[in-house]
């Protein structure tokens, strides 16, 4: 069983005991424990089930590479699946649970899959679920969805109560990894005077050196780490961060770092995670190395662990994974585990070493303590179900004939070490195969390049392929200095030193024993989480998969949440062997960020709740809010949709507002309308190019409605242009168009007609804009006094400056409703004041504010088009019968040439008409009119569609506009529109102007 040792554990505080729960069981831990070490201390080796076969899974590793120990954390609003127990720090009250099992971790019915594993080989899903096709939707897909995913998704009703944020940091050098290599590189770069950020993903500095190391600079490793930190902390140019992982390296020195601020203490004040968006001139990846598992039968049984992890738990946390540890290895390093176990007073029945190698100091040390070292040997199979009970030993050279059984409860395996090259590779850094170490290492001649074409990532220490401490320190110091040099600093000081223990070369062994039968190979796990075995990769190769990227997707090797940190090299070595190709030729799969999963909260940053999105408020926002508004989001704006009175439905409110505006007086907040000032000697010429109609002939004091098209000829915006003086125009755009039409104007001025003398300014938000609409509009303005608003003084399509009730205003006599209408622009700071004044004085005239829905109905009654309803980016002005707005006098305007293209002049384009339902009902928006027969795809032929449709309270019937094939030539003809429920509605083609066809009401 696994348990807490008497020895102290360097990272835990034995004076502070805390309690946590696992699957509802209350357990004890010490401050400093990871969830994995605490579970092991409580003899909880079984922590989960694998994805495909639901095999029992135990802790394998001690760090970010862990594939098995994935748990649910927290509950309710803070529930989170798939947290790695090895990187989760335990705090008092932490609640964890195992996942992917039913009904319980100990007894799981899904485990039946493992007995079916012969029928669930590589590519099973692709082979099984392809035929017969009709079964996909109702049988296969629901089945796969049911069994997909490891952890459970958080309840849809929960809301993450925590906050998150970004932090943009710019620095000379970013060093990722706070082991001795990272510390050394930081010393080198820091002493040179470069500005440095050094980050470490765990809570502790020094990495694994303190577990394995002997001495640095003649002192114990821990002491050296303390001194190094002291020196780094004393330097003002160095920022040190723990619990911050380098997650991804991107273009031009952009690096995402994931800082976990409160995960180790539980729910607290302040942000939970902070996503650092670092811009570094140089990035040093001192990310260390990861030990590789060995492939032998039963290597997935709980209790089979990485050799380094077994000693990490003992030395760092004072936790033994078991009493009897068999070490199995192809290198010297694993012998350190045997020594650590012996030092902890535990038993090591044997070290099984596939090599036949002369004794080196490490082997000597193990042997001298009476441990049996079995050379040239291998594990034939591991015995046990939910826990290792022993191993059967065989000769590595043979086919697995068992020579001997050894009882044990832990198997500590080591297949050598692979540098963590992920961050080096994210942005295009290339790798080279290291024959001696049997690993891929960064190729410094093919580093990721920055904007100036120079390399910006440097690997240091083990991440650079140096596996001995002395070499690591020397390399890291050199690389830290190199980073400093590249940012213009001058290297100083000398590298720390360590004596290396001589080691015998590693023997690359990718399968154990060498001639293992299918039966054994089908029990050799490569990917523990996704259940990919040696036999699966071999099958893929036999079926013709040669590319490692294809094999990965076919077998799902390395596609689990650990992204194959343990399995990839072993898997591709098996593939290479099977293809009879050298490993470097087979290559690796692509390393993609993030290094380990980061929270969705961190990705969203501050953008949640009230600040999820900018919400744009007009100057009268508070008034609307206080008067019972029902809001409509319009882009980022909030606009009043309607103002329901007590007991009134939205529909009733809209109908009331529509009728009142036609009969009495309505007030509309039109502030969101775009307002662009275009000024300069060439302003008229410029606007003649931008609008389809002529603007240069407009007289100062007058307004003109205009259309804007893109260079593709499509209608993009419309609005009223007012000429302020000879040189100055004020262009109104749609609410959604203010920013992009401003940008459109600047683009043409800056990039095409840069010699034209025109300036543009966006003054949209300088003004609140109030539409005063209805037969009593003039009366209310006159009651305020200050300027002459009579028909004579301010005629239709004119504008004037003046004051109203003492407030300076500019009034435009324009109408989007067909009523007598004044649009009043007022400085935003006084807009609400004017609105209140109009509302108060309007009482005697029956004033009511109206919202966007009433605005839409009023314009539809008049047959006025709306950008975004009648247009969708494929509609040209000709489609909408707006020929009158297309100047024939102008040689050119944006879109003119495009409108001459054959498709644009096709007589069969659908054209705008009005639609009047036979039964007076409202046609659903977007409904299509059916034609005769079917098209080439067997679909019903259509001959038109609805673009705007409303109930008109003034006409007391449904009205609509639509685009219809030859529409204007088919007046009175009846069309059939299909509803989504399969029924139909019949409508007659009519003139799109439904109300006041002569236009007398607006011009009084």
């Amino acid at each position: 069983m696994s348990t807490r040792l008497q020895t102290k554990g360097r990272l835990v505080n034995r004076d502070r005991q805390i309690s946590f729960s696992f699957n509802g069981k209350r357990l004890k831990a010490y401050e400093g424990d990871t969830l994995a070490s605490a579970l092991l201390a409580n003899d909880q080796m079984l922590v989960g089930r694998s994805f495909k076969y639901h095999r029992p899974r135990g802790v394998v590793a001690s760090g970010a590479e862990e594939p098995n120990a994935l748990v649910n954390l927290g509950e309710g609003h803070r529930f989170e699946p798939n947290a790695r127990a090895t990187t989760t720090e335990v705090f008092d009250g932490l609640k964890a649970g195992s996942q992917n099992h039913f009904p319980s971790l100990e007894f799981d019915v899904g485990a039946i899959n493992q007995h079916l594993s012969r029928f669930l080989p590589a590519g099973f899903y692709y082979k099984m679920f392809i035929h017969p096709r009709p079964l996909w939707k109702h049988v296969y897909e629901p089945f796969i969805r049911q069994s997909a995913g490891l952890g459970k998704a958080p309840d849809a009703e929960t809301r993450d109560p925590d906050t998150y944020e970004y932090f943009h940091a710019h620095t000379d050098v970013l060093i990722i990894g706070g082991g001795v290599a990272g510390l050394t590189a930081a010393l080198a770069a820091g002493r040179a005077g470069a500005q440095v950020i050094l980050c470490e993903q765990t809570a502790d500095w020094g990495g694994r050196a303190a577990v394995d190391g002997d001495e640095i600079d003649g002192m114990p490793v821990e002491e050296w780490i303390k001194n190094a930190l002291q020196e780094l902390e004393s330097m003002k140019n160095i920022t040190l961060r723990t619990r911050m992982m380098g997650a991804g390296v991107y273009d031009h020195g952009y690096v995402l770092c994931y800082e976990r601020l409160t995960d180790h203490i539980g729910p607290s004040e302040g942000p939970r995670h902070r996503l650092w968006k670092v811009r570094a001139k140089q990035v040093v990846t001192a990310t260390g190395a990861i030990e590789r598992p060995l492939s032998f039968a039963g290597n997935d049984i709980p209790g089979v662990m990485l050799a380094s992890a077994v000693r990490d738990y003992a030395i760092n946390y004072g936790v033994s994974a078991g009493d009897r540890t068999v070490v199995v290895t192809n290198n010297d390093d694993a012998y350190r585990t045997a020594i650590a176990m012996l030092d902890a007073g535990l038993s090591v029945p044997a070290v099984i070493d596939v090599r036949a190698t002369p004794d080196t100091p490490l082997i000597e040390r193990v042997k001298s303590r009476g441990v049996r070292v079995m050379q040239g040997m291998a594990i034939a199979k591991v015995k046990g179900g939910k826990r290792v009970t022993g191993v059967s030993v065989c000769s590595q050279a043979g086919e697995g004939a068992v020579l001997e059984d050894i009882a044990c409860d832990v198997v500590a395996m080591s297949g050598g070490w692979s540098p963590v090259v992920h961050l080096w590779s994210h942005c295009g850094g290339k790798l080279t195969w290291d024959e001696a170490g049997a690993f891929f290492r960064p190729d410094p001649t093919r580093a990721p390049l920055s904007f100036d074409g120079t390399p910006f990532v440097i690997a240091a220490g083990s991440a650079n392929g140096e596996m001995d401490e002395g070499a690591v320190l020397a390399d890291a110091y050199t690389m830290g200095q190199e980073a400093a040099k590249r940012v213009g600093a001058t290297p100083k000081g000398a590298a720390p030193t360590a004596k290396d223990t001589a080691q015998a070369p590693l023997l690359p062994v990718w399968m154990m024993p060498q001639g293992a039968s299918y039966k054994l190979r089908s029990k050799m796990w490569l990917d523990y989480q996704n259940d990919v075995k040696v036999s699966d990769v071999q099958l893929a190769a036999q079926e013709g998969y040669e590319s490692v990227e294809h094999t990965k997707r076919y077998t799902t090797l390395g596609m689990a949440t650990d992204q194959g940190k343990l399995s990839n090299i072993n898997g591709l070595a098996i593939l290479a062997q099977e293809l009879n190709a050298p490993i470097p030729q087979v290559g690796t799969t692509t390393f993609r960020p993030p290094y380990t999963p980061i929270s969705m909260g961190a990705i969203a940053g501050e953008a949640k709740g009230e600040i999820f999105q900018p919400l744009r408020r007009t100057p009268m926002h508070d008034w609307h809010e206080a008067h019972g508004v029902y809001w409509e989001p319009v882009g980022h704006w909030r606009r009043p949709y309607c103002y329901p009175q007590s007991g009134e439905s939205h529909e009733d409110a809209v109908n009331r507002e529509v009728v009142n505006t036609r009969e009495n007086l309505g007030l509309l907040d039109a502030s969101t309308l775009g307002k662009l000032i275009v000024k300069g000697p060439d302003a008229g010429k410029f606007l003649d190019m931008l609008y389809t109609n002529m603007m240069s002939t407009l007289k100062p004091g007058r307004c003109r409605y205009g259309l804007m098209c893109s260079e593709n000829g499509f209608l993009m915006d419309d609005g009223v242009v007012a000429r302020i003086d000879d040189d100055t125009f004020l262009c109104h755009t749609t609410s959604g168009g203010a920013d992009h039409i401003h940008a459109h104007m600047e683009e043409w001025l800056q990039t095409e007609w840069w010699d034209w003398q025109v300036h543009v300014a966006n003054v949209t938000e300088q003004y609140g804009q109030i539409a005063v609409v209805g037969p009593k509009a003039r009366d209310v303005l006159q009651s305020l006094g200050g300027m002459d608003v009579s028909k004579e003084a301010l005629s239709f399509m004119g504008w004037a400056d003046g004051t109203l009730g003492g407030i300076p205003v500019r009034i435009f006599r324009i109408s989007f409703s067909g009523e007598l209408s004044y649009e009043i622009a007022v400085d935003a700071g006084r807009a609400q004041e004017l609105w209140e004044l109009l509302h108060a004085n309007g009482q005697q005239f029956g004033v009511m504010p109206y919202g966007t829905e009433a605005l839409h109905i009023l314009r539809a009654e008049k047959g006025f088009i709306m950008i975004g309803d009648e247009t969708d980016g494929t509609v040209i002005p000709q489609d909408l019968g707006l020929h009158w707005a297309l100047s024939k006098k102008k040689a050119d305007y944006l879109g003119k040439r495009a409108q001459q293209r054959t498709h644009m002049t096709d007589p069969d384009r659908w054209l705008l008409v009005g639609l009047e339902t036979v039964d007076g009902s409202v046609i659903p928006d977007g409904a299509y009119a059916t034609g005769e027969g079917t098209n080439a795809n067997g679909q019903k032929v259509v001959q038109g569609r609805v673009t705007s449709t409303y109930y008109s309270a003034n006409l007391k019937r449904g009205i609509a506009m639509g685009l219809v094939l030859n529409g204007p030539d088919r007046m009175g003809e009846q069309l059939t529109f299909l509803k989504t429920d399969g029924t139909a509605v019949h409508a007659r083609i009519v003139d799109p102007v439904f109300y006041d066809k002569e236009g007398v009401k607006q011009d009084v």
Binding site: E165, Y166, E269, G270, P271, E606, I611, G829
Partner: protein, 187 residues
Amino acid sequence: MSEAVSALKSAEYQGFARVSECGLRGMITVRGDLASRKLTKAVEDATGQQMPKPRMVNTDGPSGIAWMSPDELLVMVPYADVTGKLAQIDKALAGEFAMAVNVSDARAVFALNGNAREVLAKLSPADMRRSALPAGEMRRTRLAQVPAAFFADADDAFTVVCFRSVAHYVFDLLKAASDPSSDVGYF
């Protein structure tokens, strides 16, 4: 007669930095040839400040000139004076290819005191190190999802300018970013 009001009516928040809405500021966007002597004189006369170098801001209290782009300045004056100053600039620029428009009501202005660089670095991708953004330099950038501009004075207090419609959003952003439990300790 009533007073014109700013978007947030001088709202305040105290976190590890202090966020205060400054009320209305007189602001005039001037576009034209910044090398023109006539234009230079017009804006210098209106503010009592010198024409700034590219990206720089010259201010004294409510009056100042900020370089916004190769053909754009932001002229700052007391809000009450803006109509008069605009007329003065317009007159001085007569006959010149240039434009001056009042944008005072289109903006919201915040003062950020305390560790303002840290607050802004959470929201903007700009390099907030003193070496990269010294006192008196205007940085036009974005704060989270909206455009904004800011500059520091000699005491490292920042003036932040954004559009009026998003004043509420920007205030909430600055509040969240200066939450007392969220200081980073980088600057």
